[in-house]
């Protein structure tokens, strides 16, 4: 039970990072982006590539930072991967979504995002193989925090949680303290009024993809660090991340953070009563529950 709670918080932090970008893009561009979770895969694999590259350049970089399995090279690779994934998100928007936006309605975008997800996922599979990959082959033993109730925590998990929370705090400071943050919130509230006030909408869209992609990359690496990396990572995470945005209310960044933790906790607590094979269905139950009780989520507002 306690173990499930702790694991739930950890998974929750990863889902939150993914959900922030998704909720921003969904709110601004008015479409459910089913390819968002593939950005996590792109991030995870990009970090894998650069991790290997830096490790090969200088052997000292391949050393793990005790007590983690995280190496110096991977920590630099995370930052590069965040930047690269952000750029890929912008590129995908330029290449596909922008053109579909110009041609058709919002729902064509949803179709297109499914197609994009399909392409990215399988190209990653073709490049990196279908078998799971790990950042480190070293076995890092979990630390027994307590025996009764039994609780195991890996140092990597603690790092992941701290890093995820740190990223969210930085984002919060940016949103609440900078002109950019005000502009972003203004666009989210009322795009036309924001434009009248001199905010460049297309630049804001690029920035949202950059931020969303960057956060997704971090989430992907953290997921790979605590589980494993495989090409279907996006397929497995897309529904939990959507559930997080719906719980929080589409468009609410703080809602997405809270929603991520709620979905992570609920999914892991559900394992107490359900066999683990059923866990992919839990996010759907959460979505149904939210739609029945509070259709617009915790912080969402009614909008058509």
């Amino acid at each position: 039970m306690i173990q499930n709670l702790v694991d739930g918080v950890l998974v929750g932090s990863i889902l939150s990072l993914g959900a922030i970008g998704l909720t921003m893009a969904m709110h601004m561009l008015r479409f459910a982006n089913f390819s968002h979770a593939e950005l996590l895969s792109i991030g995870a694999y990009a970090a894998l590539v650069f991790d290997g590259l830096f490790g090969a350049i200088h052997p000292a970089l391949a050393e793990a930072i005790p007590p983690l399995s995280l190496t110096w090279s991977l920590s630099i690779a995370i930052l590069i991967s965040m930047a690269l994934t952000g750029v890929s998100a912008v590129l995908i928007d330029r290449l596909v979504f922008k053109r579909v936006r110009a041609k058709g309605g919002e729902l064509s975008m949803v179709f297109a995002s499914f197609g994009v997800a399909m392409i990215i996922r399988n190209i990653l599979g073709l490049i990196f193989g279908l078998s799971p990959k790990l950042y480190s082959q070293d076995i890092v033993f979990a630390i027994v925090v307590s025996r009764d109730p039994f609780l195991l925590i890996k140092p990597d998990q603690v790092f992941t949680l701290v890093a995820a929370l740190l990223i969210m705090v930085i984002l919060h400071v940016i949103l609440s303290r900078t002109t950019f943050g005000y502009a972003l919130r203004a666009v989210a509230e009322n795009p036309s009024l924001a434009q009248v006030s001199g905010i460049n909408l297309s630049r804001m869209i690029v920035l949202i993809w950059l931020i969303g992609g960057g956060l997704a990359a971090a989430a992907g690496v953290f997921y790979g660090l605590t589980n494993q990396i495989n090409p279907v990572l996006g397929r497995d995470l897309v529904l939990p991340i959507f559930a997080a945005t719906i719980v929080g209310g589409i468009g609410s960044i703080y809602g997405a953070v809270l929603g991520g933790f709620i979905v992570g906790l609920a999914s892991n607590l559900a394992l107490v009563i359900l066999p683990s094979g059923y866990s992919p269905a839990v996010p759907f139950l959460i979505i149904l529950a939210v739609l029945i009780v509070r259709p617009h989520g915790l912080f969402g507002e009614e909008r058509t």
Partner: protein, 315 residues
């Protein structure tokens, strides 16, 4: 020669069954503008329903009610309809992306439950279904030919029904809601109720396709309700032309031919070490087809015919 013909019969049967599902999706997406991200769930509900209601009892499994075939098929459709009604009731009042996410979720949940519940067949799927009229027709080529004829009759029946439906006042109402919900509401129509009707009707048609599919193979397993089937069905509709029933059927045969041909070509000509990845290559191709169509020809090969209503023509 007989090999080629029997393969063509097999191909035509599967393509016709899928056409029925695509027609169901066309009612939802093409005519009403409803995004169904979980076609497989409704297809699968019909398939499982038909086999459970019409099959012979199996140890440790629910079902085996041995109902007469047509009643089992109808029962499968009803089950699809109930699933659609629940999902639709919860989501159709909300912003459209909720329906997309919820239907996607329903498909994931459906596959997960079927895979893990041993009393519903589990990962092994449901067997022990006696194909109707097997005693009279045998199990060979003549049976498949007769079954193709049956599927074609159903397909034509659904096609004519939908053509009549969209030409009727109800069909006009669907398009009115798709084009301008507020205007439809101002004329005293209830968009959410009409949308729910269309959504359930489309899902029931998908359930019918699923029931026929399960009858054809006398077997259904979670492996048959993977998300890829949803993509294939969409690709068929988008390529054919959303809103056009003829396009939906043509698109189905075209995409299904391309899919099977690409699978065959990859397994025949690709080097051994690539064989493992033929699935991935096919998925990339179908993704490119969907994205490419949306970018360059969103109206499909057979665009929807724009209907001008009578009164406007008179002026």
């Amino acid at each position: 020669m007989i090999g080629v013909i029997s393969y063509l019969v097999f191909f035509a049967t599967v393509a016709s069954i899928l056409s029925i599902a695509v027609l169901g999706l066309n009612l939802q997406w093409g005519n009403t503008g409803l995004f169904n991200g979980g076609v497989v769930a409704f297809f699968g509900a019909g398939a499982y329903g038909t086999l459970i209601l019409g099959g012979t009892p199996q140890a440790g499994q629910m079902g085996g009610f041995e109902l007469p075939y047509l009643i089992a098929l109808l029962g499968g459709m009803v089950i699809s309809g109930i699933v659609a009604w629940v999902v639709g009731l919860l989501t159709l009042r909300l912003r459209h992306d909720y329906l997309a996410i919820a239907t996607f979720g329903v498909a994931v949940a459906f596959e997960t439950v079927m895979r893990n519940s041993d009393w519903l067949g589990g990962a092994q799927g449901i067997r022990g279904f006696e194909r109707p009229l097997r005693d009279a027709l045998g199990n060979g080529f003549s049976y498949n030919l007769a079954f193709l004829a049956f599927v074609l009759v159903v397909l034509i029946g659904i096609y004519l029904f939908l053509e009549r439906l969209i030409a009727s006042p109800f069909g006009r109402l669907l398009r009115a809601i798709r084009e301008d919900e507020t205007a439809a509401r101002s004329l005293g129509k209830s968009p959410s109720r009409i949308r729910l009707t269309a959504f359930v009707a489309g899902s029931v048609i998908m359930g019918l396709a699923g029931g026929l599919y399960a009858t054809f193979y006398a077997f259904i397993s979670p492996q048959d309700v993977l998300p890829i089937l949803t993509f294939q069905i969409w690709a068929m509709l988008i390529v054919g032309g959303a809103g056009n029933n003829k396009g939906a059927v043509m698109g189905t045969f075209l995409i299904w031919a391309a899919w099977t041909a690409s699978g065959w070509a990859l397994s025949r000509f690709a080097p051994m070490d690539v064989q493992l990845y033929t699935g991935s290559i096919q998925f990339v191709l179908i993704g490119l087809v969907i994205v490419g169509m949306l970018m360059w020809r969103p109206q499909g090969l057979f665009p929807e015919k724009l209907v001008v209503s009578q009164s406007a023509k008179d002026k």
